[in-house]
């Protein structure tokens, strides 16, 4: 992974590349229409858009070690939230800030051992984030972030400094994003002011930071508030005028701001830090002109033991009378216990070419971590193909028709989770208050729990039914 000196061939290739980081290849001209593009950052794999970047937790795509990431997945970009790394800042300087990259490249990339050519996007919060309690609101100078030691404020200044020091490829500016809450008009006004001010401050940091060099090595994406552009028009105005040279892209937290996005901003790449819960929603996001998406349901499906099984365009022809096809396969069910078939027939991912359903079902029921590794590889591969299908349809003009076909063929939701996922950690959920059931059921129980119950119970009445007997510790009723 050393940085090789450029040979002649490489130099020629670079000369041929467009100067622009983002090129729109095909678009109908209006702002809220799907578009084909190319995101190119020197030294990284070119991201053909629409595409997705994988979400990470503590610097790693969950379950996928860094070597496996390079060897067994086709993921070419990741989103990394800063809140995963700054437990006790600012009281204590986080390790990541003290880490020096051995070769002067991005300390963040080296710290998390990310593949050299994978695109690295840095934001402040996880996606989806854990919503901060009302007692920890964003302030004029900071947002509330969730770390593994609780909610803490992250100031706009600290964030800008850190983001530039860590040298990701793309940094999403800090926004006053009110996750999970509707905004009143006063609050929107306040958020707009904060966004203008924080972006200004971030640009100032960049100008100081790169004073002596040719310019920033990171691309700055401006966060838009999750309201229409008309509602945040002072901010939009500043993006169109004062900041037009400083901002390299836009980040969206919902679809509202897309509706009336001015043409003056349509040349910028659009990163969606939204939470689509189904492939249908992903298609809707793409339809509205989003270029790079984060898709948290990939990891959610993996943790639930679900192998995603959809394709775009849908392979089966939509039939009026046929029942909708499932979007995923629940690998926990014992139906798979003797099936030697791959997770998805014809799939060429590492999991499907090397293993079969029976093995996966066994791994899940034995709670072996390898189950989630294999599912995660498969599910990301499914999304790689899904986005490739989207781009191809956009190219040949069949996108809209294929979206309609997809909606007819597939179920509207992912299958329900039936099995137990990996252990949930404190930074992955927010406690809802006292009396909550355990998030991680005990993996073992006393084996003779049943006989103890039996010994303690009074003898069943002559007319007791099966449910009552079961409650007293008798064998479960077989259906």
């Amino acid at each position: 992974m050393t940085v090789q000196p450029l040979d002649a061939v490489h130099r020629d290739k670079i000369a041929q590349l467009p100067e622009e980081m983002f090129t729109i290849i095909k678009s109908v001209g209006r702002a809220t229409e799907p578009r084909l593009g190319r995101l190119h950052i020197l030294g990284r794999d070119t991201l053909e858009t629409p595409h997705y970047v994988a979400t990470t937790s503590r610097g790693v795509v969950p379950h996928i070690t860094q070597d496996l990431f390079a060897r067994a997945t086709g993921i070419n970009g990741v989103y990394v939230p800063l809140e995963d790394f700054i437990e006790k800042a600012p009281d204590k300087i986080p390790p990541l800030y003290q880490f020096k990259s051995p070769d002067g490249s991005s300390p963040l990339r080296r710290f998390i051992a990310l593949r050299e050519r994978a695109l690295l996007v840095l934001g402040a919060r996880r996606t989806p984030p854990i919503i901060a309690p009302a007692a920890n609101p964003n302030t004029n100078t900071s947002v509330s972030i969730s770390t593994s030691v609780g909610f803490r404020p992250l100031t706009a200044e600290d964030y800008a400094e850190a983001a530039e020091k860590l040298q990701p490829d793309i940094v999403v500016g800090l926004g006053d994003i009110p996750y999970g809450r509707a905004l009143g008009s006063k609050r929107i006004e306040k958020a707009t002011d904060r966004n203008i001010e924080w972006l200004q401050a971030h640009v100032d940091v960049r100008n100081d930071w790169y004073e002596d060099t040719t310019g920033p090595s990171t691309e700055l994406f401006a966060p838009l508030l999750p309201v229409s552009c008309a509602n945040q028009h002072y901010y939009i105005e500043s993006l169109l005028q004062d900041r037009s040279k400083d901002v390299d892209g836009l980040a969206f937290y919902n679809l509202a701001a897309l509706e009336d996005l001015p043409d003056g901003l349509s040349h910028l790449p659009r990163l969606a830090l939204t939470e689509p819960t189904t492939p249908h929603e992903v298609l809707q996001h793409v339809s509205l002109g989003l270029d790079v998406l984060t898709v948290p349901f990939i990891t959610a499906a993996t943790d639930a033991g679900i192998a995603l099984s959809f394709a775009f365009p849908a392979t089966a022809a939509p039939k009026a009378e046929a029942p909708p096809v499932s979007l995923g396969i629940d690998m926990w069910t014992t139906d798979h216990a003797t099936s030697l078939a791959p997770l998805v027939e014809g799939c060429e991912c590492y999991a499907c070419t090397n293993h079969h359903r029976a093995y996966l079902q066994h791994l899940l029921s034995a709670k072996e971590m390898l189950a989630w590794v294999l599912l995660q590889i498969h599910n990301h591969h499914t999304l790689d193909l899904f986005f490739a299908g989207i781009r191809k349809s956009l190219e040949d003009g069949s996108f809209q028709q294929n979206v309609e076909g997809f909606a007819k063929v597939y179920e509207s939701r992912l299958p329900e989770k039936t099995g137990q996922g990996p252990r949930i950690r404190g930074y992955q959920f927010k406690s809802e208050g006292p009396g909550e059931p355990k998030k991680n059921p005990a993996p073992f129980q006393m084996l003779d729990d049943r006989s103890e119950k039996l010994a303690e119970s009074t003898p069943p009445a002559a007319d007791a039914d099966a449910a009552e007997l079961e409650e007293q510790g008798f064998a479960e009723k077989q259906s």
Partner: protein, 334 residues
């Protein structure tokens, strides 16, 4: 010195890896000891309640062999009657040893693929050396392709463990692999090798990785400790595993600080440390084999213990010093 050397060479054998290479099937066996509380051992087999649904089950030697035949493992293990070595019930230990011999006969008779699968017997007899000797004699007479020493690593004292291994290996034929079951600590493996054992298996390197422990030549360290949060060295300096090797040499260049960041928080943390720990043990065994071939295993042991205890001979475990003295390796000499 020369005489001693040749003597040692007779005893220290060429050990196999503690983990067979991935291309071979792992030995299969059924560990009944952990279910002991609810299991009932009769001459017929082991009766126990299914850990899944509590339904009663019976595992006989014949059934265990039939399962292993269908799994097709290269090495299969007999069903044995295991009593914790720490059990005070001597009569029961004796009974278990004799029953294991009888079950071995049933296993051999039930084995359908002796031409392609190797059935290993398992020597039992607790910590009673006389019982172990008797078991060795009985089982060696059955002429299985390989021999396991079982029932150890159950919390017995290390010197008792070494005595059992040393006693058994003396009675076992030269040309059959000797497999000490459930041994995984590097010191235990290296001493057992000196006592004439060849193969080992243990969950320890990967289990300890899940708890955030990294194995190094200087000892095992828990990287979840706050001291490692700012430690930007690899888990083990100079280690050539994928996790530790610097990026400039094609590795990941993972630091202790990063392991600290993910250990016990992300499953990938367990995976990364497992990669290192397993590599460490495989590398240790490779170096042990090299030392044996080059006739310098005693020096290898001295070097190993010297590094592990930072040259402080007072800290060397007495059991290891004693056990190695028994095979004429003096750890304390310079």
């Amino acid at each position: 010195m020369a005489a001693q050397h040749s003597h040692r060479q007779r005893r220290v054998r060429y050990p196999l890896d503690p983990h067979p290479p991935a291309s071979t099937n792992l030995p299969t066996s059924f560990q009944m000891v952990s279910l002991l509380k609810l299991s009932q051992v009769t001459e017929e087999g082991v009766r126990f309640l299914s850990p899944h649904d509590g339904s009663p089950m019976l595992l006989t030697p014949e059934h265990s062999i039939s399962l292993q035949n269908s799994i097709g493992s290269d090495i299969m293990m007999q069903l044995d009657d295991v009593i914790a070595t720490t059990s005070p019930d001597h009569a029961r230990i004796k009974e278990a040893m004799h029953r294991s011999v009888r079950w071995l006969d049933r296993c051999i008779a039930a084995h359908e693929k002796p031409e392609s699968q190797n059935l290993f017997c398992i020597i039992q007899g607790g910590l009673d050396l006389e019982l172990r000797r008797e078991c060795c004699r009985e089982m060696v007479a059955r002429d299985t392709p390989g021999i396991a020493i079982g029932g150890l690593s159950g919390g017995e004292a290390k010197d008792a463990f070494c005595k059992v291994v040393g006693t058994c290996t003396q009675l076992l034929p030269e040309r059959k692999p000797r497999y000490v079951m459930g041994v995984g600590y590097p010191e235990d493996i290296l001493v057992s090798v000196a006592l004439g054992a060849d193969m080992f298996d243990c969950v320890w390197p990967t289990r300890t990785a899940r708890f955030g422990n990294g194995i190094t030549a200087e000892g095992t360290f828990n990287l979840r400790h706050a001291a490692y949060a700012y430690d930007f060295r690899p888990v083990e300096e100079g280690c050539q595993c994928t996790c530790c090797r610097p990026q400039s040499e094609g590795g990941l260049g993972i630091t202790r600080a990063y392991i600290h960041h993910v250990a016990a928080k992300e499953t990938a943390g367990a995976h990364l440390l497992s990669m290192h720990n397993v590599h460490h043990l495989l590398e240790l065994m490779r170096r042990a084999r090299e030392a044996i071939v080059e006739q310098r295993y005693p020096e290898f042991l001295k070097e190993y213990f010297g590094r592990l205890y930072a040259g402080d001979k007072d800290k060397y475990p007495q059991w290891a010093v004693d056990a190695l003295q028994g095979v004429e390796v003096d750890l304390l000499s310079d």
